[in-house]
């Protein structure tokens, strides 16, 4: 298992390199000019110098190589420095100072390092996305179990219909719909997610809770629909197996049969689906963040795109790619760990 994990980890390096090359190539082919916003009174030779200052004068392979160095060598050094100097988790380690003033990936919009902005925006996205995923799974698994157990019952029929609807309604419709109902007509929930809100006491926690309900539920609806379908299918496959009859025949209680024997076997494919769905939910967060004005990384990507901020776009898209590759790997490893029948070597 460990060798398999290592092999997959090593194989993911060329994958990531290829993806970064694709993204970089797309950006190179793009006709957008970062100097488009500069006033026309600026003479062309000054513009040319500004371009060179942004690193645009060099041939593409030099630019790509520099980006790679900055992303994979300089940024990790800063991260390690931060971890050992000022973080709570690893602060006990001796202070390191690997980073000594090399050029980092600089955003063209703000002229500050891209990773600093990403780190600022990440918690909002992680909170909304992570929580919605957990909520979605917690709702989906009991629904899937029960509708498989009572196959063709009213609950099953209704559950299948509702998951189908949840599957089909896009988040950019459920979002505004919920805002119209709960913020405009009923006035129960705020329509905008205020990221500057700080939780200090019970009252402010309640505000935070209320403003998280809608974005989390919109994203959770998609997750719930998908995962409860898989859960139901997996349970149905297992409920008719011989070992279930054996378990019942030796006198186990129905609860133990379903919740221990069948559930554990059905969770194997579902866990991998959960891991594989994680990157997709980050992609869906781009739309949800736009609807509820959450200033997470999805919204950052959109604004960077419109502002022609190529280093920011490149880095963010690549972070999405890392997430996908990482969770694919996790899914594969989990599958092997959970199912002893699967041997990779």
């Amino acid at each position: 298992m460990l060798t398999f994990t290592f092999r997959r980890l090593i194989l993911s390096i060329p994958t990531l390199l290829f993806i970064s090359l694709v993204i970089f190539g797309l950006l190179q082919l793009a006709p957008g000019d970062p100097m488009a916003q500069v006033p026309l009174t600026v003479p062309p030779e000054v513009k040319q110098k500004m371009r060179e200052a942004l690193g645009l004068g060099a041939p593409w392979y030099v630019q790509y190589y520099k980006w790679l160095i900055q992303f994979f060598w300089i940024e990790p050094k800063i991260l390690i420095d931060y971890l050992t100097n000022s973080s709570m988790l690893l602060g006990w380690l001796p202070d390191t100072s690997f980073y000594n003033g090399e050029l980092r990936v600089i955003s063209w919009q703000t002229r500050s390092p891209v990773m600093d902005i990403v780190i600022q925006r990440m918690p909002q996205t992680l909170w909304v996305v992570g929580l919605s995923y957990i909520v979605g799974i917690v709702i989906a698994i009991p629904i899937g179990i029960y509708s498989a157990y009572r196959h063709y019952s009213v609950f099953d029929q209704a559950g299948t219909f509702i998951t189908m609807v949840g599957f089909s309604i896009p988040p950019f419709f459920t979002g505004p719909l919920l805002i119209v109902i709960f913020s405009v007509y009923l006035g129960w929930l705020p329509s905008i997610y205020d990221t500057t809100h700080v939780v200090t006491d019970w009252a402010s926690f309640k505000v935070q809770f209320y403003q998280m309900i809608m974005p989390v539920m919109v994203l959770a609806l998609q997750t719930t629909a998908q995962i409860s379908r898989y859960m139901r299918g997996a349970m149905l496959d297992n409920l008719n197996q011989d070992y279930v009859r054996t378990a019942r025949a030796k006198g186990l209680r129905e609860g133990v049969v379903v919740m221990v024997h069948v559930l554990r076997n059905s969770m194997i494919p579902v866990v991998t689906v959960i891991a594989l769905g994680m990157p997709a939910i980050f992609g869906g967060a781009i739309i949800t963040e736009n609807v509820f004005k959450v200033n997470g990384i999805g919204q950052l990507l959109l604004t960077a795109l419109f502002a022609n901020d190529l280093p920011m776009v490149m880095t963010l898209t690549f972070i999405f790619a890392i997430l996908i590759v990482l969770f694919n790997l996790i899914a594969d490893v989990l599958y092997g760990l959970l199912d002893p029948r699967i041997r990779y070597d």
């Binding site: 694709v22 006709p31 189908m164 309604i169 419709f173 505004p176 405009v184 795109l305 898209t317």
Partner: protein, 332 residues
């Protein structure tokens, strides 16, 4: 066959003696595979409704402009902000009437006409992008399943494309390549080509994987061996024997692809990187209405419901097709 037709032949007489060999009931007409599929499909009520609704929407947006011949782009600023006709039910003073059944927008454009025009674009994007994805997916699937030499390279390539972040890349490509395509094909045509191309190029991978798996299994069957032994060329084997046998997984992934394509197009329009603003699509109508949804919720609801119902019906259709085309489920 001819011997049986002759009444006095000795074989016929033998059959008469052994009564067990005679048929007791009249022969049924032979059933074709597609009749079986249709019978199973009809049992799935959701699928029948889904298929019916999809046909209704498709015909509606194709024939709609003749039935409701109001120009969707005609401005009529005096009659702006009409409410849909059903508001009269609870509010008799509302600005509404049968001249504009779904009301008008802030510039006085008829919303029903806009919905029909928008549906045309959304459905056209959906069908074309789905077709493109199927074409690429089937080609890659068949080639890598049939030719062993290509298999490794093509499947690694599919895996690589599968791990690309699709929505960010789509956003990226649409924003970056809008200008050159627009200048060549006009703002609407360029955007149409761009969106269809991008959705098609980023959603063929599942089809390719499924088709490859099926081809790998089919390739070892006897009928392919028989075809090869009489000297059938590879191209003929693929066209005559393999492709007809993988038509069912292709059809199922076609429905999925149609649903994804419609949603992706609407999402792009919603994020503001889709078609130009005076060119209605369902996603565009929805996005434009979000700013004033407190006053005019129907402008969000109508296109949203149109998208959702279409996607829902396509998903149900796919569900029913999967059941109907699976010989293990059929006849149960």
């Amino acid at each position: 066959m001819t011997e049986q037709a002759v009444p006095a032949s000795p074989i016929e007489a033998d059959i008469e003696i052994f009564g067990a060999l005679t048929d007791k009931e009249p022969q049924k007409p032979p059933r074709s595979q597609w009749k079986d599929v249709w019978d199973q499909f009809r049992k799935h009520k959701g699928a029948v409704f889904g298929g019916g609704f999809l046909m209704f929407i498709t015909l509606g947006v194709i024939l709609g402009p003749w039935l409701w011949d109001v120009d969707p782009k005609a401005l009529d600023i005096r009659n702006k902000d009409w409410r849909p006709v059903y508001t009269l039910l609870w509010n008799a003073d509302a600005k509404a009437g049968w001249i504009h059944p779904f009301g008008t927008d802030q510039l006085g454009r008829d919303i029903l006409a806009q919905m029909i025009a928008g549906g045309r674009v959304s459905m056209a994007v959906g069908w074309l992008a789905m077709g493109l994805a199927l074409l690429i997916g089937t080609a890659i699937g068949v080639l890598s399943g049939y030719f062993k030499r290509l298999d490794f390279l093509m499947m690694r390539f599919t895996d690589l494309v599968l791990s690309l972040p699709i929505l960010p890349l789509t956003l990226l490509a649409v924003t970056l390549f809008r200008q050159p395509l627009n200048s060549r094909f006009g703002p609407e045509g360029g955007m149409f080509i761009l969106i269809v191309g991008i959705i098609g190029l980023t959603s063929w991978m599942q089809t390719a994987r499924i088709v490859r798996g099926d081809i790998l299994a089919l390739k070892e069957r006897e009928f392919i061996l028989a075809a090869r032994s009489i000297g059938t060329t590879s191209g003929k084997i693929i066209r005559r024997h393999l492709l007809p046998n993988v038509i069912s997984p292709i059809m199922v992934s076609a429905t999925l692809g149609l649903a994804t394509a419609i949603i992706t197009e609407s999402a792009l329009s919603f994020l503001g990187v889709g078609f130009p603003s005076d060119f209605p699509t369902w996603g565009k109508l929805l996005a434009d209405a979000v700013q004033r949804m407190q006053d005019f919720p129907e402008r969000v609801l109508l296109p949203g419901i149109a998208i959702s119902l279409t996607v829902l019906s396509v998903n149900y259709l796919g569900d029913g097709l999967r059941d109907a085309l699976d010989p293990r489920i059929r006849g149960r």
